[in-house]
């Protein structure tokens, strides 16, 4: 027995094992190859058993050789193993492939009612002018809804708003949001800047009238207030609401609780005030180029009297507008009744 033989055997084992490792097909084969070569009863152990028959001086050399062969085999097997694992993982992942085009588990989207959207938009505009929200009940008494607003019992103005009364009760469904003005003024002293949105009721039902509809009312009261300031506020509002190119027009009008009273028109949002769209008469503004959007005026002295403010102590202005009309203009809704039919196909169109 010579060290050369052992050297040769180790070398040959190394080469053979590497070769079979290279050709291994899977992890199991690899593990067999490893065990055949390196386990306690494996080929390398068998070779080293013969170490004792060598001269002592040769043993370290052979031992080192065997160790390096073992390390090399383990390296090769490890490399190969990594390759197998990568391939196995890739295969496994491939099997997990998703059809990413399938729909999600998203919660369906709902929507806010256009009336809510418009009210919030208007509040947002006036909040920036320092107006704050005020609310009141929908069932009102005649004092808040009429008398305090300078609409006396036999005033023809009561014709303008046919009222729903409650059975066995002097109470009524408010015909306007103005009673909230009265309630607020009875409760607080000026300066006041309030906005009152809400449902109101009038006994009328056709294409352009609904027995319930929505208004938003604004009230500004201070020691001094002028018609010019009313114009300033409403011009700001009109441009914010309908765009900076919007023209605004003030016409004298009559509401018992203001004097002077005014009707406010904005240039038609459809035909941009031209009265015509593509040479066809504009139906929205009936060719006038103007849309009536709100009523306003300086608070009538009788109203201040009714809430107990001293004569001449305060001045103020008030304005009110119909939410449905604005919603119809803004979204191009042709029929008022659509707003109360709650057809899901209609509601969903106006997604938030």
């Amino acid at each position: 027995m010579s060290s050369a033989t052992l050297q040769k055997d180790i070398q040959s084992l190394l080469e053979k094992t590497i070769e079979s490792a290279e050709q291994a097909q899977d992890l199991a084969q690899l593990s067999t190859i490893e065990s055949l070569a390196l386990s306690k009863k494996g080929a390398l152990s068998e070779i080293l058993k013969r170490l004792g028959s060598l001269p002592a001086a040769d043993r370290p050399l052979i031992g080192a050789l065997a160790n390096s062969a073992k390390t090399r085999i383990l390296e090769v097997i490890e490399e190969k193993k990594t390759l197998f694992e990568k391939a196995a993982l890739a295969q496994k992942l491939e099997q997990e492939r998703l059809d990413i085009s399938l729909p999600s588990l998203k919660t369906p989207r709902g929507s806010l009612h256009p009336i809510t959207t418009i009210i919030e938009e208007i509040i947002g505009i006036f909040e920036r002018l320092g107006f704050e929200l005020a609310t009141g009940p929908e069932v009102e008494n005649e004092f808040h809804n009429f008398d305090a607003l300078n609409i006396s019992k036999d005033h023809p103005a009561r014709d303008m708003q046919d009222t729903f009364y409650l059975k066995d009760s002097p109470l009524l469904l408010r015909t306007q949001t103005s009673p909230v003005q009265i309630r607020t003024m009875l409760e607080k002293k000026p300066p006041l800047r309030i906005l009152c949105p809400g449902a109101v009721f009038r006994s009328d039902y056709d294409v352009t009238h609904s027995p319930m509809f929505h208004q938003i009312e604004g009230l500004y009261v201070d020691r001094k207030a002028s018609f010019a300031e009313l114009k300033g506020c409403l011009s700001f509002f009109a441009q914010e609401m309908f765009g900076t190119e919007t023209q605004i027009r003030f016409r004298p009008s009559y509401f018992p609780f203001v004097e002077p009273g005014t009707e406010v028109d904005v240039s038609c949002v459809i035909c941009k005030g031209q009265g015509k769209t593509q040479n066809e008469p504009c139906r929205v503004c009936k060719e006038t180029g103007w849309l009536e959007i709100l009523g306003a005026g300086m608070v009538h002295p009788e109203v201040f009297k009714a809430v107990g403010y001293k004569d001449g102590e305060y001045q103020g202005f008030a304005f009110g507008l119909g939410i449905e009309r604005i919603a119809m203009l803004k979204y191009g809704i042709p029929d008022l009744r659509l707003l109360f039919e709650n057809d899901i196909r209609f509601l969903k169109q106006l997604n938030i």
Binding site: P108, L112, E132, L166, P260, N342
Partner: protein, 805 residues
């Protein structure tokens, strides 16, 4: 109100600078809104009067004739299909280029080989009648070549006004003319009546005024009138503004009503007992047959005109049938009066008769012009119907003084401050004078007194005068200004509430719900079905509902949501979710006040995610809705919400519904809609809903406070328990929580199982517990002790056992 342009122009000497469009626009900007302009000759611009000279048969068409028609400047060949066309008649001829009503263009054409240069028209084609047979044959005196519209008197334009109720003074041609005059600085032309000097005083008959609501009454007895058709000019004026001519006498009164705004009435004198009238309060239940054919039962609040036998007119509203002027009438009694606006309004409302007359009385007439109108009426009646005035009577009430206009103190400085303008003294005075105000200077301090004209009953205070000045100047002349804010408002409770409601709505929209808005009222039937059972005795009904579908105020929002859901299902819509936020109403216990509470309700059906693969989705169920509602409470910051089984609400499935409580306060209901209701409406899938009272929820404040985060490890313990079926899981959890204190931090349900291996009448509940201590690591024994404490309590209190594997 309709105003005839020609009639309006008759008030001015030189109206050449005016056009209907300009006046309509300018008056609208002065607060007298013109809604529409209508040219009566529209479509008749190229229609003339022609004479058929000759008629020949068409060689190739049996029914057609070839006519030569003289239209003055030339003779035209026209093919005509009407059977009544013949030589010698006068006809309206539409010339080539005419566009007849209905956008019908007349062109030069060949009809079966024969050229035709125009069309002979029927009344229908000219839009003068709905139906007509053959062509329109004109009277022989129609002038050949004249513009047909001129011949018909239709060269006019109608301005349709929509006036505000304060402007009673403008409800006539005179009233509008006054505004036009002030606007363009034109003086008004009016003929002064002269007849008053020649009127005999009545000797034989009398009108007795017995009610002080009659402020002025002028009567004239005229004998021997001839009732006939009115002359053309009068008929045309009335027809132009949409009134039907009746006879000369009635037409005269209608004409003056529309010209001056002063109502008047004529009685057939021979129907009046002895020619004596009484203006008096009606007797209760007295009857009166009116001109419109109706019979009314009077009340003791009505003001009437009667003779000694019976009532003849409802004052200021309508005359009676009995003394109506007819073709046979010979003698008449003319009434021109001034009744109190209040009285006329009351009667008009009570009997639901609104007439041109009552409309004007209600809005107050010009008290100073009643007498003058009376003389004008007599003159015109005598002119048109002949007859002889046998007597007249004038009555003015002492109360008339009170209607006189008083002076209003006025300050220029106030006006300019209040309006934000810088108008000079001269400008202000110019405008006021043009509008008929009298001005009296007081001193040098820019203060003066103004007196409105007699017809302006709406001017009462300085602000009214300001508006007049501003109106004349033009609202658009006021420069805009920015209000000076003297405070910044702090966030109020209302604001806070609104903010919460807004985030609630937004949250529900992202949860797939669409916001609905329904009316506040429903039918009694619907309310009975869907109303809140506890409020059944406290419903609020309307006294005057629009119809029976809107008779009762809602106590619950479910009816509306249900109706809309059904209707959407019927439109083949699926997977529906709706919510609504609005007040509901009930009477308080003592029934005197109305309780208004803000409700929030939601209803839905269908699938949870609308996913296309069924396996990945599920149908909405009770727990989805419970989750939605809990989500709402989270948004509002409400804690301590409990769900309590409750089976006595007929709207819900008795075993799948719960009362919702905050602490001990019931705030609403949640559950599946009763399957009987689903079946009744043929709904194939379950509907779920909840409704809560938002008021208590909005009061809850979300208090956010920092708590230290524990650094020490937690210990987990799981139990599988055998629970008797009569105990809800919630009860078990509550017992665990109570007895696990203080180390038990949380407990949750991980599984629920019934079936094999579980004893009958029981179910298995698996719970997971987390133990911990904020300041130290727990010892094993402490947790074991807590666990056995819990198990003991469960067994003792609820007969719950640990499940042995």
């Amino acid at each position: 109100m309709n105003i005839s342009w020609n009639w309006l122009l008759s008030f001015f000497n030189d109206p050449s600078s005016l056009s209907p469009e300009k006046v309509a626009r300018d008056l609208t900007l002065r607060g007298l809104e013109v809604e529409s302009l209508q040219y009566l000759n529209k479509g008749l611009e190229h229609v003339v009067v022609g004479a058929v000279l000759e008629k020949q048969k068409h060689p190739d068409a049996e029914r057609l004739s070839i006519c030569s028609v003289d239209i003055g400047r030339e003779t035209l060949q026209i093919v005509c299909g009407a059977s009544n066309v013949r030589a010698g008649i006068k006809v309206p001829v539409a010339l080539v280029g005419a566009i007849l009503p209905g956008n019908f263009r007349i062109q030069k054409s060949k009809i079966r080989g024969v050229e035709s240069f125009g069309m002979i028209c029927s009344e229908t084609e000219l839009s003068l009648a709905r139906e007509s047979e053959g062509i329109f044959i004109l009277p022989e005196d129609a002038p050949i070549g004249a513009l047909f519209s001129e011949y018909l008197g239709r060269n006019d334009c109608i301005l349709s006004f929509s006036l505000t109720p304060n402007r009673g003074d403008a409800l006539s041609h005179l009233g509008i003319a006054r505004e036009v005059g002030a606007l363009y600085n034109l003086s008004l032309k009016r003929k002064e009546p002269a007849i008053q000097k020649k009127l005999p005083v009545q000797q034989n008959a009398k009108v007795s005024i017995q009610d002080k609501r009659c402020l002025q009454y002028y009567a004239c007895w005229i004998e021997g009138v001839t009732i006939q058709e009115s002359p053309t000019w009068l008929k045309r004026r009335l027809e132009a503004i949409g009134l039907r001519p009746i006879n000369n006498v009635v037409d005269v009164t209608n004409h003056l009503l529309m010209e001056l705004g002063q109502p008047m009435h004529v009685f057939d004198l021979d129907c009046i007992e002895r020619g004596n009238l009484f203006v008096r309060t009606a007797h209760e239940r007295e009857k009166l047959s009116l001109l419109d054919g109706s019979e009314i039962v009077l009340s003791s609040e009505d003001l009437i005109i009667a003779d000694s036998q019976c009532a003849h007119a409802l004052a200021g509203v309508m005359g009676g049938k009995l003394s109506q002027v007819q073709a046979s009438t010979k003698n008449i009694l003319l009434e021109v009066a001034h009744f109190s606006a209040h009285a006329v309004r009351k009667s008009s409302k009570r009997h639901q008769k609104s007439t041109d007359s009552s409309y004007r009385f209600e809005r107050q007439i010009d008290a100073s012009q009643v007498e003058r109108a009376f003389y004008q009426a007599i003159e015109l009646i005598v002119d048109e119907a002949g007859g002889k005035v046998s007597g007249h009577q004038l009555y003015k009430s002492d109360l008339l003084e009170e209607t006189k206009k008083s002076e209003i103190p006025f300050s220029e400085q106030y006006l300019n401050e209040f309006m934000g303008t810088t108008l000079s003294h001269e400008i202000i005075c110019k405008h006021l004078k043009a509008l008929g105000f009298e001005i009296r200077s007081h001193s040098q301090d820019n203060k003066y007194f103004v007196r409105p004209p007699s017809y302006r009953n709406d001017i009462e205070c300085m602000e009214d005068v300001c508006e007049e000045v501003l109106r004349a100047e033009g609202y658009d002349q006021v420069k805009t200004a920015i209000p000076v804010c003297t405070t910044f408002p702090l966030t109020s409770e209302t604001q806070e509430r609104a903010r919460k409601i807004s985030s609630l709505k937004n949250n529900f929209a992202t949860l797939g719900f669409s916001e609905a808005v329904h009316f506040a009222f429903v039918s009694a039937d619907q309310e009975k079905k869907w109303g809140e059972p506890s409020k059944a005795e406290h419903r609020v009904e309307l006294k005057n509902p629009l119809n029976l579908d809107f008779s009762t105020l809602k106590t619950s929002l479910l009816s509306g949501l249900f109706q809309s859901l059904i209707s959407s299902l019927n439109h083949q819509q699926k997977n529906l979710r709706l919510f609504e936020v609005r007040p509901v109403f009930s009477r308080t216990k003592n029934a005197e006040q109305i309780h208004e509470e803000l409700h929030f309700a939601a209803m839905g059906c269908g699938r949870s995610f609308h996913h296309s693969l069924a396996a990945r989705d599920h149908s909405l169920d009770f727990y989805d809705f419970k989750g939605f509602l809990e989500n709402a409470f989270d948004t509002l910051g409400v804690r301590g919400v409990k769900f309590q089984g409750s089976g006595n609400d007929a709207r819900f499935h008795p075993a799948q519904c719960a009362q919702v409580l905050i602490g001990n306060q019931a705030v609403g209901m949640i559950g599946r809609i009763h399957p009987a209701i689903e079946k009744e409406h043929k709904i194939k899938e379950p509907l779920f809903a909840f409704e809560i009272n938002l008021d208590p929820c909005l009061k809850a404040g979300k208090k956010v406070k920092f708590a230290p985060i524990s650094k020490f490890p937690k210990m987990d313990r799981d139990f599988s328990l055998i629970v008797p079926k009569n105990h809800e899981a919630e009860k078990v959890l509550a017992c665990v929580q109570k007895n696990g204190k203080p180390l038990l931090e949380s407990v949750s349900i991980v599984d629920l199982y019934e079936g094999e291996k579980i004893p009958a009448g029981h179910y298995s509940l698996s719970i997971a517990m987390i133990y911990g201590h904020p300041e130290r690591t727990l010892e094993e024994q402490e947790v074991e002790a807590a666990c056995s404490n819990i198990l003991n309590a469960l067994e003792k209190n609820l007969q719950v056992q640990l499940r042995l594997q």
